[in-house]
């Protein structure tokens, strides 16, 4: 235990923790929204993240022919390259997420209400995707070219505010506000809220369930895809097991904030990002990956509905 690192670098750890937290928040959307409407842990969402991270890098290397040795870009070229990476990752992740629902969950939903069955199917999808990528990449990690020169903008209380982490925070906030407006102000968003409130009654009221559910998976996938882009921008590396490593932490974030609750996922994600950063400073980075699990167990034991309570509207009876 070494608390000196924590006190010395408190501001910089906090800043990094918040950036990591926003990545968790965006991945957590894929869990929390689906859980909201279907009461199902969307296990395969972690692999959606993994595919998004590979897409981000492949857009840069295959479409724009950047290599690890390339110089960072500037000006207009930088903007459209990074936008292409972001949009590419979001589209692939969104489409994969919708396809997963159709292939792995839709049939089961029509036939049985046994949650174990859907859950096992979801685990199957997750394994298939990560194994397919493991074999395609021969387990090798894939590095990303550095397009954005990571200059320090300002230094606050000894913390270097780098341009990439600031970018993550700003864009994530924009995306989350858009999502919040979508869910609360639009007709489709109202449908999502209705289904998460009462699945059976909303069907009786004439809501097209399949459409709502596909939309939910699409939004979850888009958020997860954006998270993958931000992750690559900051950490510049991915591998086939990245979904397992980050996806489950993001799930923890969703549970921490109250699964099914979008604003809860926001609080949970930021909290988890900070806790992980502080914990790895005190205990050493080798313990970082189990911090999330320990927190998950503690939350479920003492406050199983999370900080903000479960569900978009109300927890089931």
């Amino acid at each position: 235990m070494d608390f000196s690192i924590l006190t010395d670098q408190f501001a910089s750890l906090t800043f990094d923790g918040i950036a990591l937290g926003f990545i968790y928040v965006l991945i957590a959307l894929g869990y929390t929204m689906v859980y909201g409407v279907l009461r199902l842990i969307n296990f395969a969402n972690s692999e959606v993240f993994m595919l998004g991270s590979f897409t981000t890098i492949l857009v840069a290397t295959k479409l724009f022919h950047h290599t690890i040795e390339s110089d960072p870009l500037t000006g207009f070229k930088l903007v459209y390259t990074m936008l292409a990476m972001l949009i590419g990752s979001m589209i692939v992740s969104g489409v994969v997420s919708v396809l997963i629902e159709i292939v792995a969950y839709r049939r089961l939903r029509a036939r049985t209400s046994n949650r174990l069955t859907s859950l096992i199917s979801a685990i199957g999808v997750s394994i298939v995707l990560s194994e397919a990528v493991r074999m395609a990449t021969s387990s090798a990690p894939m590095g990303s070219p550095r397009l954005l020169d990571k200059i320090t903008l300002v230094t606050i209380w000894g913390a270097d505010i780098r341009v990439d982490t600031l970018l993550v925070i700003v864009f994530a906030i924009i995306l989350l506000i858009t999502l919040d407006l979508f869910v609360n102000k639009t007709r489709l968003g109202k449908g999502i809220r209705a289904v998460s409130m009462d699945y059976d009654t909303s069907r009786l009221m004439g809501i097209n369930l399949n459409k709502i559910i596909s939309t939910t998976f699409l939004i979850g996938g888009l958020g997860t895809g954006a998270a993958a882009f931000f992750y690559i921008t900051v950490y510049e590396m991915t591998r086939f097991s990245i979904g397992f490593e980050l996806g489950l932490a993001a799930f923890t974030a969703a549970v921490l904030g109250g699964i099914g609750n979008i604003r809860g996922a926001f609080a949970g994600g930021i909290a988890l990002g900070l806790i992980e950063m502080y914990a790895s400073a005190v205990l050493g980075t080798q313990w970082r990956s189990i911090t999330a699990f320990v927190i998950l167990i503690l939350v479920l034991l003492f406050k199983p509905n999370g900080i903000f309570g479960e569900s978009l509207q109300q927890a089931r009876v």
Partner: protein, 341 residues
């Protein structure tokens, strides 16, 4: 399907008298013990001697699948961290053989006891949770055990523990590299004991309680079943079998390291249970034998085996959620009406 192997087997057993049952059971036992005779035939595996394959992966995985079956198949509790108990058993064998002079057979009960204890601790904490949370918490527990072993210097860290002794010569049976057959027989005896215990429990109060919990936990609780207690017992029983598998594995492999005990093992065992038929002993044995043998026999599948098992999970859940050999029809009455929540 008009012909159902499960029902055919069940009827054969049900219609047999006492002596016919002894004959059937005798055939199964003798057949299982004489499997090493198939060495050198069509069943040979290309890169590992067939008799070694019979012990690991087949024997050890059949044993563990039987243990997980009680948790997932019989009680409907999705445990994604079953590898944790396997690791506890294996590390018990490793640590005790490092610091004491105990032999494998003396370590076995200690390994089982410690696995049960960890099952009790985990179960007591998490079994009050709803089913789908349970899956992810057990997964987390499996990772916690693995990463703790990885970061603990006194158990070798990433290098693991080497030079774990083989079991001593027992009743004239030698246990070393030249006698893989004896290992197979040892695990077979454990498998048979496990099957007998599971059968005995299934037809008595715990079995009925598990079945009730699996079908509808709330109703079971209302009908007076102490669901928490029986879920905990299912968990502990599963843990004990996983621990036994771990001790045996460590004493044969002589070497253990944290990277052996990954999440993939938990998924592997789950795939065996799901493939053969959740809740049905013979289905699970069949599933574990077939799915652990195929990657050994056909080498190019070996690298893709996790992919194969993932596909097995998706396909089985979508097409045949009860597995290839589903549980008896009699037990399924409640499921037919189980549409509503």
């Amino acid at each position: 399907m008009s012909f159902n192997l499960r029902d055919w087997g069940a009827n054969l057993w049900a219609n047999a008298n006492k002596w016919q049952r002894y004959v059937i059971a005798g055939f199964i036992v003798v057949g299982a013990f004489s499997l090493p005779l198939l060495e050198g035939t069509f069943f040979n595996t290309p890169s590992t001697p067939f008799v070694s394959v019979l012990f690991y992966p087949i024997g050890v995985y059949v044993l563990m699948a039987l243990g997980l079956n009680v948790v997932v198949g019989k009680s409907g509790l999705l445990d994604l961290g079953y590898v944790a108990f396997y690791a506890v058993g294996a590390y018990t064998a490793g640590i005790l053989s490092m610091h004491t002079k105990l032999n494998t057979w003396e370590i076995l009960p200690i390994g089982i006891a410690l696995a049960m204890l960890s099952g009790l601790v985990l179960g007591a904490a998490v079994l009050r949770l709803r089913g789908d949370y349970l899956a992810i918490v057990t997964l987390g527990f499996g990772e916690i055990i693995r990463i703790t072993a990885l970061n603990t210097k006194s158990v070798g860290g990433a290098n693991g523990i080497t030079n774990i002794p083989n079991p001593p010569t027992t009743l004239g049976f030698k246990f070393d590299l030249d006698h893989p057959r004896n290992y197979y027989w040892a695990v077979l005896i454990l498998i048979m004991i496990t099957i007998l215990i599971v059968r005995a429990l299934s037809i008595r109060r715990p079995g009925r309680a598990w079945e009730a919990i699996r079908q509808d936990e709330d109703v079971a609780e209302l009908m007076g079943v102490n669901t928490y207690k029986y879920k905990l017992w299912a968990f502990i029983f599963g843990a004990s079998v996983g621990g036994a598998g771990g001790v045996l594995f460590a004493s044969k492999a002589m070497f253990i390291a944290p990277n052996i005990f990954t999440y993939n093992i938990s998924i592997l065992i789950l795939a065996f249970v799901v493939f053969g038929g959740m809740g049905n002993i013979w289905g699970v044995v069949f599933g574990a034998v077939v799915l652990s043998y195929i990657p050994e026999k056909i080498r190019f599948i070996s690298n893709a085996r996790m992919l194969l098992f993932g596909l097995v999970l998706i396909i089985m859940m979508n097409l045949r959620p009860d597995g290839l050999l589903p549980r008896k029809k009699r037990e399924k009455i409640g499921v037919a009406g189980g549409k509503s929540k």
